[in-house]
Amino acid sequence: MSKLLKAIMAFCAIFLMSFSLVAQNVVVKGTVVSANGEPIIGAGVVVKGAPTRGVVTDAGGQYSIPAAKGETLVVSCLGYASKEVVLTGSTRVDVVLDEDTSLIDETIVVGYAPMRKSDFTGSIASVKSSELQSSTATLGQALVGRVAGVEIRQSEGAPGAGVNIRVRGVNSLTASTAPLYVVDGYPVADDDLINPNDIESIEILKDAASAAIYGSRGASGVVLITTKRGNENKASVTYDFSYGLQELGRKIDLLNAREFAELYVEARNNSYWAYCQKGGVTYDPRDDNATRIAKLAAVGINQSSTIIVSPYFWDFAKNDYASTAFMYDTDWQDEYFSRAGMARHNVSVNGGSKNIKYMASLGYLDQDGIISPSGHKQINARINLDAQVTKRLSVSVNYAMTDAKTREVKSYGRSNSGGEGSEGYDGATQGCLVAIPNFPAWNTIENVGSQPWAIDGNSGVLTADVWGSYNTPGTMARSWMNFFSNKYDFNSSESPIVVANDLKINRVRVRNNLSMAATYEPVKDLKIKLQLGRMWNNEEYSKYRPNSIGAGKNYAYSAALETSNHYAISSTRKDEDSLGELTVNYKKAFGGNHRIDALAGFTMQDHTVNRIGIQAMQFSDNRIEDISATIDPNAVREYDVTRYEYTLVSYLGRLNYSYADRYTITGSFRADGSSRFGASSKWGYFPSISAGWTLSNEPFLKNALDGIMTARLRASWGMSGNNNIGNYASIATISTSTTGMGGAISPTSYESSFVDAGLSWETTKQTNLGLDLGFFNGRVNLIANYYNSISTDVLYSLGIPSISGSTSTTTNLGDSKIRNRGFDIQLDARILQGPVTWTVGTNFSLNRNKVLFISEGVEEITNNTMRSSPTHITKVGYPIGSFQGFKTLGIMSQADYLNTLKDREVYINNGNSFPAGYTLQGPAVADYSLEYLSPGNVIYDDYNGDNKITDADRQIIGDAYPDFTGGFNTSLSWNGFDLAMGFTYSMGALVVNFNDYYAYNMEGSGNQYGIVRERYVDESRPGNGYVPRAFRHGNKNTGMKVCDRYFDHADYFRMSTASLGYNFPKTVCQRLKVQGIRVYVNGDNLFTITNYRGFNPEVDQYNSQGNRTSGERKSNGNMMPGFDWGSYPVARVYTLGFRLTF
């Protein structure tokens, strides 16, 4: 065994040696051995100051290098302390390297007190600051593709928006599954706006045994962030500057003006044809609008807007497209998206003496969004102080401040406008998809003045002078689709650039966090730490919707907007969080082989939220974009007003014992008392146990494997909770109303609803099995984990016995079972070290989610995303929020159509049903009315075989969870240059692209995806076999049925980062009187290979942590994953930057 390994080793070493560089001077030879005399293979031997002269030791630990007397050899190898040897002229220099104990004793942040890395037996993902891409605006983006078992989705690209981090799958139906963040020991709900430059390391606790120390908040994983601290060196000042250019990463294929006009005319004619069939009148596409209406009216069919064609597009006299139809060919994506700059400045000061260490930083980010005028300005400041007050007492003070001002663009949502408070509307990105290319984005001399087709479009409501009054040259063209919607049934969306520019949404977030800790060491190895902290979080949100944005059929500035679509909202939210923590930590090694690490603690945390908002209608002057300008101060209403508080008291303990660095066992326990839990269940208990066995340290293997391989097995089991269950859900409240008593209207009061006094956290129990392998002195490392987690006590509002006084209540479904199981692998290799270093790393994650049981009598829960479409189903045996819809079998041919007509005969003659045992001749349809039967319709799968297409034929089509995800990174450095690249991929997930409801509906009432070119036109032009015929009327057989056509594959392969940097040589730096200079270019999201039809395959509307008011966050978002409703696309970013260290 060991011979074979050594042979492999030798081969590797020779391979590595081939990179060594040409010799000069005398040849110095020698052997590099470890303290116990073993030769060290692969150690780097470099001539100091001449990095080009370096070699690597071979399988016998031998090296030979050309060097001159007086030069210094630097001998280094991972796991050993480097050694420098000054050449005295001897040609043989043997070197003994000592094991680097600091490395072996490397500690890791695991919650409350650091632990020796070798003693940690849970599952953790660790990322050092040096591994983070430094150019991204947020920390989350920098983590993309870096960690196994952690899904980091950039589901939203708006400036100032965070990412979704999900650790090992979804384990709740309604409670948030965002992980807990702990910044320098302070647990917070999130910290999207932390300055990535301040971060020293990030640890993500993945398994329940590790997270159990965070008890009722640990079930979704814990992200531990450690910021940089001062050191004993003399002060150094670092200044970073970068400038980035962002642009739309992927442009969507949409129809151009000619293609849209073709679709539009075809859809109207096909609808006219369909009604002609119904009415039994002759169809002639040359019939003008008046003839069409009259012909159908004569047979009792009253149709107009769906069967007539606007003269703007079609000239019946010429029997051809009107000249106006192609006046414009607007590429709305070009109008809506733009290149945007992003500048960052960072200054940090780091230094200290033996007793006082400090780190202070100031960061400024000014980021414009790719959808103008969105933008984000952020200031981050941080001061970390550490003082050794006496020999036994040390004190540290952390202060961090964030000030972020964001100008938002309403990207997500339905493009139609909605009334006051209808936050799901005014979606500009969907508006960009459906914006008709034949309409202008900007007013020019030509399109102002009186336009007969426009006025015709609005049925005379709009007069030429009104039209002219706001369509002045040089301004944005407004409301074209709004007024064409009135008579010709176009989508009533306002121009996306008008919505983006005129809908004023601003958000200001200010966070201050002050935290102080004192550590007292009464005897050696015993540390008592007291931490006190407070965090203040303020958020101001304001929105002003001027009447310059059309709404529905009402065009900009029309009086009808005043009653619902001219409003302002202003709201503020104030959070205050206080933390008190006392921990005692004892570490002791004794008897040579025994080592214990014990922790006990007590914490208290209190969080208050106070939210006040108002909303007003009707404003006289759009220049005052504030609620104060309402002309009706009496109409000001409450908006989102609430106040709440939650508290948590916890006791925690952890005991770690290791023997001879071979066997490690850790047990932890936490008791959480929470104000959120019901009166009868105030306390929750979260135990965990884990063990590790370092195989390679066994005496019988140690020598054989030394320097070649380390191996360690880990196993853990733990219990953690999710306490995102609402604040007063277990407290019964009183409602009031009125009734008649004694002949008078009298007040009544009553308990609002039954509450479950036993309401408590959701519980996740997870088992983790892990394997850590290291090869060649740690040059190749593999970490693999398998886990199986079962979540129970899932929170849901289910039917309860009426005798409780209510019919449903929010409760923990005790028998519920949600399983997540899978594995994650992280493989890192330092292929080259020495003058050229080359590392590669890859990670792979696979998770399978399954609902094993919901509750007695509950098999499934369906959820409607939009437009009353039950797109998602949570069903026993399937993943949470699986997609359901109809399966399609193709497109109805002329022959199918004729067969369907035969079926129709039978159906009608049998009294609107089929005789028993009847075999359909054509495909099954939902409705046999003639206007719904046509060649080019979709054929749906009659799943239940009842000869009819009904809702019962919906099937589970797939889900939004990837089959597997992963990433790989590589970095290469040589002579001051460094090159790094990161890639990420995801396979097997689906997304319900609900923009399809408008952009892939074949109506031609708004623009459509390019795929629509492949539609069925007639037998000679059957298209691609799955895109149906164009129609404008509500065709019950094809219409808006949510089918597999709307569920897109969201597989992607993305180059998430690439950077090239150069560190100026010391000599240059010294000449310039600086410590270091680095220049770099970076690229983020450089390319994405995907077949996804929308902008971003990572979209997840209801789980986005992005800009949302509280009313817009869906509590049951977990059950509606992978939903695209126009989220802000993610940008590609090119960055140029430099770093100066003084």
Binding site: V649, I734, G740, I745, I800, P801, S806
Partner: protein, 498 residues
């Protein structure tokens, strides 16, 4: 001070901070049940909250006719496809366990019981100016609860009995099983008994107290419940003693009447919306106040047919019509004696519209121009006491006394004494008189079950054209959605398929 001491003190301070206070937070956005009950007004409002449930549509409001008039085929609700035809399944005798009206009725009655139980739980949270205030609150609350259980036992037979606030889901689950009818009746009797013996409620509330329960109300309900049990074949052995008890309660109620000769009490007196609160005949009414949507009723719109024949018999200001009507042959076969004031004054006819002609009632007439009506639901009145005395005496074998009571009602309505003197002929006269006297008063089905046994009812219903009627229809099905939560404990009534 030594540093160790500072630490020790801080640690103790942290640990001794009262965890329990720290963790017990209450919702600042709402008054919680825990801290709501502070004074007598809170208690009174809470009681009003229980009364309010009685008036909700699904209980004694707009859906009530489905369960009484429609079930007895006194009223029809044509199948217009509304609510998937569920409205029509009551008079068609095709009610299924998934029927939403049945579920809503079950839910609302238990909601009412829960409100009573919450109030009773908190009744002693405060001290009262006068002990009678407290006892009267309890008395009224118990009366409401007894009324709930009376409805439940008549509609479903065995039902869960909950007499105190259920605090936890575990308690809810444990209590969610059907208890025998006898237990349900006992609960009613206990509550009524308590009102009569322990409360200091007035015998009758009078105008100022309209809507509130009284001792006579409790006695009448007590009598009714005794009579209901006495006429249930399952309690045949107790029939005589129950009838005697019923007679004694009803007689006590009758003796407290605020009028002399009942025949002088006008039949329309209690239906005059302006004066019904003060009506002499009144025992217990659900009080509604018109003029705004704060406490209004909608009975007159539910029962008005479209196209009224006689404009003087218009019943509401908006001329809005509901779906319920009494078909022509039915109405004419009930009121087959000339000179019946109740038909001539209190009934109106609609013109044929869409192939349907029907009679409606003028009992809930209110021409308030606001469109919000104040007509009350008269739950208990002296005519009912008199008729129940007739029933009780009949069932107890005292035909002479029974005839006396039924004649009292007939004479008041302008009819001569009955010719029937005994046996089923007298029984038929009594129950037909009830149909006429209490038409549109949500008593018809329950009354029928007191007068006739299962096979007789089947014959009556079949003769009336209810082809789908079978024994299952005697009781309502346990609502499917609730049955699912405990199929064993909430065993389905016979004849229904879940």
């Amino acid at each position: 001070m030594k540093l160790n001491h500072i630490f020790a003190i801080t640690a103790i301070a942290l640990l001794s901070a009262s965890c329990q206070d720290f963790l017990n937070l209450s919702d600042p956005n709402a008054v919680t049940t825990g801290n709501y009950y502070q004074n007598e007004t809170d208690m009174q409002n809470s009681l009003n909250g229980a009364y309010a449930v009685l008036k909700e549509g699904n209980f004694m409001g707009s859906s009530n006719p489905y369960f009484e008039e429609c079930k007895a085929r006194m009223l029809t609700y044509p199948d217009t496809g509304v609510n998937a035809g569920e409205n029509a399944s009551f008079d068609n005798c095709t009610v299924v366990p998934s029927n939403q009206f049945v579920l809503s009725r079950w839910n609302i009655i238990y909601k009412c019981i829960d409100r009573v139980n919450v109030l009773l739980k908190h009744l002693d949270d405060i001290t009262y100016t006068n002990a009678s205030v407290r006892n009267n609150l309890e008395g009224e609350a118990r009366f409401i609860r007894a009324l709930c259980y009376y409805t439940l036992v008549c509609d479903w037979g065995d039902v869960p009995v909950v007499l105190s606030k259920l605090e936890s889901l575990a308690e809810v689950k444990a209590a969610n099983f059907r208890k025998p009818k006898a237990d349900v009746y006992q609960a009613i009797y206990d509550d009524c008994e308590w009102v009569i013996s322990n409360s200091s409620l007035p015998d009758l509330q009078g105008k100022a107290g309209v809507g509130h329960a009284s001792k006579v109300a409790a006695q009448t309900l007590y009598g009714k419940a005794l009579l209901q049990k006495a006429t249930d074949a399952d309690f045949a052995s107790e029939k005589s003693s129950l009838c005697s008890k019923a007679i004694s309660q009803l007689t006590a109620a009758w003796n407290k009447k605020p009028f002399g000769d009942f025949t002088t009490v006008d039949v329309t007196e209690i239906w005059d919306v302006a004066n019904q609160a003060a009506a002499k005949e009144s025992i217990f009414q659900l009080d509604f106040v018109g003029g705004s949507n704060a406490a209004n009723s909608s009975y007159n719109t539910s029962f008005r047919t479209s196209n009224i024949d006689d404009d003087s018999k218009e019943v509401n200001a908006k001329k809005s019509a509901g779906g319920f009507f009494m078909s022509v042959p039915k109405a004419e076969s009930i009121w087959d004696e000339a000179g019946d004031k109740r038909f001539d004054i209190l009934m109106g006819k609609g013109k044929t519209s869409g192939g349907l002609t029907g009679y409606y009632t003028v009992k809930y007439k209110d021409l308030d121009a606001s469109g919000y009506y104040g007509c009350n639901n008269v739950v208990l009145r002296y005519a009912d006491v008199a008729m129940m005395l007739a029933e009780a005496n009949y069932h107890n074998g005292n035909a002479t006394e029974a005839v006396k009571w039924v004649n009292l009602i007939r004479n008041r309505a302008g009819l001569a004494n009955t010719t029937a003197t005994s046996g089923t002929a007298l029984r038929d006269v009594i129950y037909k008189e009830r149909q006429r006297e209490f038409a549109y008063e949500f008593k018809a089905w329950t009354d029928l079950k007191r007068g006739y046994n299962a096979s007789e009812i089947t014959s009556i219903m079949k003769a009336d054209g209810a082809t789908e009627f079978d024994n299952a229809d005697l009781l309502l099905p346990i609502p499917h959605a609730q049955w699912l939560l405990n199929p064993e404990g909430l065993y389905q009534n016979p004849g229904y398929k879940d």
